[in-house]
């Protein structure tokens, strides 16, 4: 094994002109992914980006790695085949709320269920961009778009709840205005053995501008998001004095120092506790903050590793396959 070279960000920038709209959140995500690649510990030739169709799915063209721009919704299936065939690769799936949750919903949940060691990044801007502004499966009820002039009637998915329900072993959320946070989350996803699912709150400046404004605006963001750290209490707010406490099974926002609330009363984040992860995926309504960071991270054997193990076990038991033996196996007869 040769050593992994020391990469710089520019080593991951392809010669293709980036063609997203000026101001699109995708630029920041691309830059953070390219940064993360320098610290991945993987050789460039062992990295593959696979995308479906949509604005986000142009991504592989801009990465100087191996890449596949595929068809609408199918990236998780294509990436699964690639990873199963060659488990040594670091395989990244780039998708959006339409590509991953609508046309490709079936492939997404099954890739998560099987625990194929893919890193799936879903850009969630709650709108269809490439087809020029129709509501998506994550759009809020009532959203007025070109296909819903009187407001959308569809109830939205919560991507991380869906991922958790599908059996994902790693789920995280990050936001396109925080490059450092994005990079850290992507690296954590890569370090996780098994499937990783990362939702990036991403802004579409043209068709759904400021959709995540509450979580990105300097004035409000500290009070509307909670940054998770494993083993640490869930504290947030401008003054770092707000926290999440359980009232029965229901989380509530409390202020440290008020009504006798102390730090020890707050929920301690535990990435392996299903109930905590599940509660965190649904945060965000009312005064509850949106959870950012790693919501769940548990260790389960990866699918492609199990396939290798099974193949090896059968080979040890039966010996390596031989066509000659196979063709002559079972009942045969001589014609003279």
């Amino acid at each position: 094994m040769t050593e992994v070279p020391q990469y710089k960000k520019k080593d991951f920038i392809s010669d293709q002109e980036v063609r997203w709209c000026p101001g699109c959140g995708d630029y920041a995500i691309l830059s953070s992914v390219q940064m993360a690649m320098t610290k991945l510990g993987k050789k460039k030739e062992d990295i593959v980006f696979v995308s479906g169709i949509g604005c986000s799915s142009r991504f592989p063209y801009y990465m100087d790695t191996f890449g596949m721009h595929t068809i609408h919704g199918r990236a998780p299936a294509i990436a699964s085949g690639l990873k199963i065939h060659n488990p040594n690769l670091s395989v990244w799936v780039i998708t959006g709320d339409g590509d991953g949750l609508s046309i490709g919903g079936n492939h997404l949940i099954h890739a998560l269920r099987r625990n194929v060691d893919l890193n799936i990044i879903l850009f969630n801007n709650e709108i269809y961009g490439l087809t020029k502004g129709q509501y998506s499966p994550t759009s809020q009820v009532g959203l007025v778009t070109k296909s819903t002039p009187y407001g959308s009637l569809d109830r939205p998915f919560m991507p991380l709840s869906l991922a958790l329900g599908s059996g994902a072993t790693f789920i995280a959320r990050t936001i396109d205005t925080d490059p450092k946070h994005m990079s850290d989350v992507f690296l954590a996803a890569a370090a996780h053995k098994g499937v990783s699912f990362v939702e990036v709150l991403q802004n579409c400046v043209i068709f759904n501008d400021a959709v995540h404004d509450k979580q990105t605006n300097k004035a409000t963001r500290d009070d509307t998001t909670v940054r998770l750290e494993n083993g640490k209490p869930m504290i947030f707010g401008k003054e770092k004095n707000k926290g999440l406490r359980l009232n029965g099974f229901t989380p509530e926002v409390v202020t440290i120092g008020e009504n006798g609330v102390e730090e020890k009363d707050l929920i301690i984040h535990n990435e392996t506790d299903y109930n905590i992860s599940s509660m965190l995926t649904r945060l965000g309504g009312g005064d509850l903050p949106v959870a950012l960071g790693v919501l769940r991270n548990v260790s389960e054997l990866s699918y492609e590793v199990q396939i290798e193990t099974q193949n090896q076990a059968v080979t040890e038991k039966k010996g390596p396959g031989s066509m000659l033996k196979l063709l002559n196996s079972g009942e045969t007869w001589e014609v003279k």
Binding site: G67, L82, I84, T315, E334
Partner: protein, 610 residues
């Protein structure tokens, strides 16, 4: 004792009666005894269709011969009818003077009613001309097993072996292979094994006892080419062909598939070969089946996907992607009766146009078709070879008839007949002197194959139109047109890499019969019969459908008339007429059933008279 050239036997009963097993045992034993055989299982789409009804009838037909056998036979000479529904469903097909072995115990009021008989047909003029053997199969089975520890229900299940025993006596079959098989199959349940063997022998003894009233048939071993033989059905033959291709190409085999009748057995079969390094992936749907294979193909596997008609429809977009990527991929379509869900367990040839044209845009791919069960091995190898040598998807058509049908197969000398396949994989270890051009083509218009893991070869591929050489996205109008032509020409050039078309019969004549796919057995036999009658008829059976062999137009021009029998409404006929303006006429049947030799002989004669 009657000496026969060939005889057709049909075992027929409820789908739970074990008729497929009985038929398979009879076929295997006959093959071992040196007969040529051809089989045709015919079962309902429902796993447990209502008992005793026509819908629930499951049949297995086998043709055994002292001469070459190419089809499971037109009309059964012997029908084993385990209940009234089996008799009703098969009586019309039975040959004149054919023998019926009826399990009279099952001809009770309830079963007769379920089969739609107002009265018991046995002993009535309806069966006149047939030799009816009234056997108390159920009752005799129970009696034979009086001392068995099994309960009555379990004992009843042995009755198919009684029927089998009777046919073994009638055709002088050796009991030993089946006894051996029973002992292996039921090794863990010795009491079941013993009961089945006892019943088998009881059936034999009964038939021997009543010999006075039955002419015993004997079919001598067939005169076939010397060598070592085994029996094989089309689906297993297909699976093994891919194993061989992977070995010949030095690649790992990857199968992404979703279960669908009648293709699923290929997935079952390949999932056994983990010690060959095969990876099988049962995907969440048809689309994921082919998509996972496309991913594996990008990664450097011999990647395949298997399906049947409705699944092929779902895979269309992804086939377009693979064509656009120019990665090697084999898609197997085991055709069944369509459209929509159609007739899942029945055979048809109606996916040809879908295979050739069923995608958006100008999307040429290679299409080949296997002609008989043991040809599936060869054509699976060929499909893989062409995919790898031309960096393109290849569609292999088989059908339910040859997929489930079995015949003897002379075991090939694989080292000689199935040599190395040269792929377009680049030498990934050599450092590149200039940037890698993923779409730089050779004289065959074929691009190189660099896969992840090769340093310096990082590149991106996509479904968007691409520029020559670099593969970068291009919206240039002229470039698009150029690329469309390049992809078309690339597939057309495959004609230089396939064998020339051969003919059965003379090079010139009054009539050329053109067939493709699983109808070969019937067209071959029918043309032979017509030639024996002095007719100037030849057969051109196509296995390469796109592109076709280069000499096809010349052959077409040498005959006064062209007849294309197909199990569809004339799909190949339309293609031939459109491409070669050859005024071909069709003979078409869409009943979910294969052609009979006799009907084709009749059509040939009729066409010659026009």
């Amino acid at each position: 004792m009657k000496e026969l050239e060939s005889v057709v036997i049909r075992f027929s009963g409820d789908s739970g009666d074990g008729m497929q097993l009985t038929g398979t045992q009879f076929s295997n034993t006959s093959a071992l005894m040196g007969n040529d055989i051809s089989t045709f299982p015919d079962f309902p789409a429902e796993i447990r269709a209502p008992q005793g009804t026509i819908a629930g009838v499951s049949g297995f037909q086998v043709n055994i011969g002292a001469t070459h056998i190419n089809t499971p036979g037109d009309e059964p000479d012997v029908l084993v009818a385990m209940n009234p529904a089996a008799l009703k469903a098969n009586l019309a097909a039975l040959s004149k003077n054919g023998t019926i072995i009826a399990n009279v115990d099952a001809f009770n009021e309830l079963n007769l009613k379920k089969a739609g008989y107002a009265a018991n047909p046995i002993g009535t003029p309806e069966l006149d001309g047939h030799n009816v053997i009234k056997a108390h199969i159920t009752e005799q089975t129970l009696k034979a097993l009086e001392n068995s520890p099994l309960d009555n229900k379990e004992k009843g299940r042995c009755k198919n072996f009684y029927a089998l025993g009777m046919t073994y006596f009638m055709f002088s079959r050796d009991l030993e292979p089946t006894i051996k098989w029973i002992n292996e199959k039921f090794g863990k349940k010795p009491e079941v094994a013993q009961a089945n063997i006892t019943t088998l022998k009881a059936g034999w003894n009964y038939a021997e006892t009543i010999e006075a009233t039955v002419s015993t048939y004997s079919v001598a071993p067939a005169k076939i080419a010397p060598g070592k033989y085994r029996q094989i059905n089309g689906n297993i033959s297909t699976a093994w062909g891919f194993l061989q291709a992977a070995e010949s190409a030095g690649l790992k085999l990857f199968l992404g598939s979703y279960p669908i009748t009648p293709a699923t057995d290929i997935l079952h079969e390949l999932s056994k070969f983990k010690n060959f390094g095969v990876k099988t992936f049962q995907a969440e749907d048809e689309i994921a089946g082919i998509c996972s294979s496309i991913g594996a193909a990008f990664g450097g596997a011999l990647a395949i996907t298997t399906t049947s008609g409705p699944g092929l429809a779902l895979k269309g977009e992804a086939i377009g992607l693979a064509m656009m990527y120019e990665v090697p991929l084999v898609i197997v379509d085991v055709q069944r009766g369509g459209p929509s869900t159609g007739l899942p367990t029945k055979t048809e040839q109606s996916d040809l146009l879908q295979a050739l044209y069923g995608r958006n845009g100008e999307c040429p791919i290679i299409v080949v078709a296997a002609s008989r069960p043991n040809d599936c091995f060869h054509m699976a190898y060929e499909a893989s070879r062409l995919a790898l040598e031309h960096m393109t998807p290849v569609l292999l058509l088989t059908d339910g008839y040859i997929a489930n049908g079995a015949e003897p197969w002379k075991i090939p000398d694989v080292a000689k007949e199935y040599g190395k396949i040269k792929t377009h994989l680049v030498d990934g270890k050599k450092p590149l002197e200039e940037p890698y051009l993923a779409y730089k083509r050779d004289e065959g218009l074929v691009r190189p194959w660099a896969v992840p893991g090769m340093p310096g070869y990082e590149h991106r591929i996509g479904g968007l139109e691409k520029a020559q050489n670099t593969g970068n996205v291009s919206y240039d109008p002229k470039n698009h047109e150029e690329m469309i032509h390049i992809r078309e020409d690339k597939v057309a050039k495959v004609a230089e890499n396939i064998p020339l078309q051969t003919l059965e019969g003379d090079d010139k004549g009054d009539l050329l019969v053109v067939s493709w796919g699983g109808t070969y057995g019937a067209t071959h036999m029918a043309v032979n019969k017509a030639r024996e009658q002095g007719k100037k008829v030849s057969l051109m059976h196509l296995r390469y459908l796109n592109p076709m062999p280069r000499n096809v137009p010349e052959i077409l021009g040498n005959f006064k008339r062209i007849l294309v029998p197909e199990l569809n409404l004339g799909q190949l006929k339309s293609v031939l007429n459109a491409r070669f303006q050859c005024n071909a006429v069709g003979y078409n049947k869409v009943q979910g059933l294969p052609f009979k030799i006799s009907e084709l002989v009749e059509v040939i004669n009729r066409t010659l008279e026009v």
